[in-house]
């Protein structure tokens, strides 16, 4: 499948630092694509380069094989949902949604507005001003304002970060359903691994302006190729040169059957977390491991001798460095 949106060797240098250092990505049509990484990794810069708010120092951006870089934002058929939504405070919800319509040709704009309003459940809010809306409503207006233009690609900058934590999980589900429904390619930026894992069809993990690893969420989580990728996607125990996720780390009082990799250890702490037990154990060589085990799996006392074991297929093998 050919790429819908392609980034080729993008470099973005500022006076004092390099934000992107040769980033290449191929984003497929209709996918929900996550750009994940710590702050300063270049993910927001990438989004701004695609939107056209900034120009790359080097490299190309192609939409269906046509160069986008060099064009001003108003000539790119992509649209951005800003982190703080950037709704026009002096315009009503309806005026916000209709803002861009006059710049797009096509006679069915009224129908498009109605569709978006219906899809995002904004029917009762059309005459309100942004300051009269809740965070979730603001986000839906921002989405409607962009989607009504039927962009080829929708860019979302930290789409959940401005929301109340209680609302995030709900909006996450809604956002995912919305993307499926409209079928538009979504590219979003986040520093939150749970957001990235739950929303994305594929994730690009960025690190120091480059793509550290690209893949489906389970690939990144279960088969990270670098130490950085393994640690960024979740807690990991490093045992020898090998990594093990806490939930793949087993704890038992009796020695496991022969043939299964196991190490003996001593429990340092066992915490009841509600949905699971968190056991912190010290291996005989002094290394610490963290295990999340089922609370049906028995109780552990501090100082108790236990065995740490795992399935060989759960081992995380990374390239050194």
């Amino acid at each position: 499948m050919s790429a819908h949106l392609e980034l080729r060797d993008l470099v973005k240098q500022y006076a004092k630092h390099t934000a992107l250092d040769g980033l290449s990505l191929e984003i497929r049509e209709g996918e929900f694509f996550g750009l994940l990484g710590p702050s300063g990794c270049g993910k927001t810069t990438t989004l701004r380069l695609i939107a056209g708010f900034e120009q790359p120092t080097r490299g190309e951006i192609l939409l269906r094989g046509t160069r986008l870089d060099g064009l001003p934002p108003y000539r790119r058929n992509v649209s951005t949902v800003f982190q703080n939504y950037a709704l026009f405070p002096h315009l009503t919800v309806r005026e916000n949604i209709e803002f861009g319509l006059r710049y797009r040709n096509g006679g069915s704009s009224r129908r498009a507005v109605e569709e978006c309003v219906e899809m995002l459940a904004l029917g009762g809010k059309l005459d309100r001003y942004p300051r009269e809306l809740s965070g979730g409503e603001k986000q839906r207006v921002a989405l409607a304002r962009s989607l009504v233009l039927r962009p080829e690609v929708l860019l979302l900058d930290e789409p959940l970060s401005a929301l109340d934590p209680n609302l995030r999980k709900q909006v996450r589900t809604e956002l995912r359903a919305l993307q499926r429904r409209v079928g538009i390619t979504f590219v979003f930026v986040t520093h939150d691994r749970e957001e990235a894992l739950s929303l994305s069809d594929r994730i690009a993990l960025l690190h120091s302006g480059r793509c550290e690893q690209l893949g489906a969420p389970h690939e990144l989580y279960l088969r990270p190729r670098t130490r950085f990728a393994a640690s960024f996607l979740g807690p990991v125990n490093w045992i020898g040169g090998m990594g093990l996720r806490p939930e793949a780390t087993r704890v038992s009082a009796q020695a496991p059957p022969p043939g299964q990799p196991a190490l003996s250890a001593r429990v340092r702490a066992a915490l009841f977390l509600g949905n699971c037990l968190q056991v912190e154990a010290e291996l005989d060589n002094g290394e610490r491991v963290l295990a999340e085990v089922s609370r049906f799996n028995g109780a552990y006392q501090t100082g108790q001798r236990v065995y740490i074991s795992w399935r060989p297929e759960d081992e995380i093998r990374v390239a050194e460095g």
Binding site: A51, F53, P73, Y103
Partner: protein
Amino acid sequence: MNRLRCLALAPAAALLTATVGLPFLILAAYAFLSRGTYGGVALPWTLENWRRLADPLYAGILARSFLAAALATLLCLVLAFPLALSIARASRWKHLLLALVMLPFWTSLLVRAYAWMFLLRDTGLVNTLLMRLDLISEPLPLLYNWGAVVLGLVYAHLPFMVLPLYAALERQDPALLEAAADLGARQWHAFWRVTLPLAAPGIRAGVLLVFIPCLGTYLIPDLLGGGKTILVGTLIQNQFTTARDWPFGSAVSLALMAAVLVLLWLEVRRRKEPLL
């Protein structure tokens, strides 16, 4: 809490009562009295001063003052907007640039008005320079006319326009312009549909801050306009000095104040926030 607030307000309230409230009451009383032979006021009470206000001569002066103030305000707005916008969008030196805008306040307006006279008079810097360059053969009449007055008004009040405009423009989220561009608006459209409407409170504040002082100003028209272009500020001053007609001067003052209050009331009615 309430008693503390009263205590805190008391000094300012006393000062304002003594320097604004009482003089206002005196002025209000004078406006209904007759003129004294050697200045001052005398009985009986009369409405004569107010009848005189309707005289075309004085109505014309009032109208001319409104026109001068309006023109100066408009020019200030046109000059100040690009300036305020570029300061608000400057990536650095914002505070330095603002300080430069306010720099003229460090010198008395009187001194600065004389400086303009020095520049504009027949033997002034501008005319001398133009004649030396053989661009003109005799001095241009730059001073003591309507144009000099408006120029002086614009010069003296420009900072009062720049500051509220800057305040309104500076707090605009730059992401709004990006959003406008993102939705397809070119720069000019984004300016027209986003920047300008959002600057409206600053524009209204600036217009009031320039228009009201321009309306009553005395110094600039008197110095740069000579005796010729008489505006209402000069008219009032004349009544209290050479004309020795304190009651009429009081009536004109009150009329001017009433006009200003109507303007302020219209503005305050528009919004619930304070003026600045």
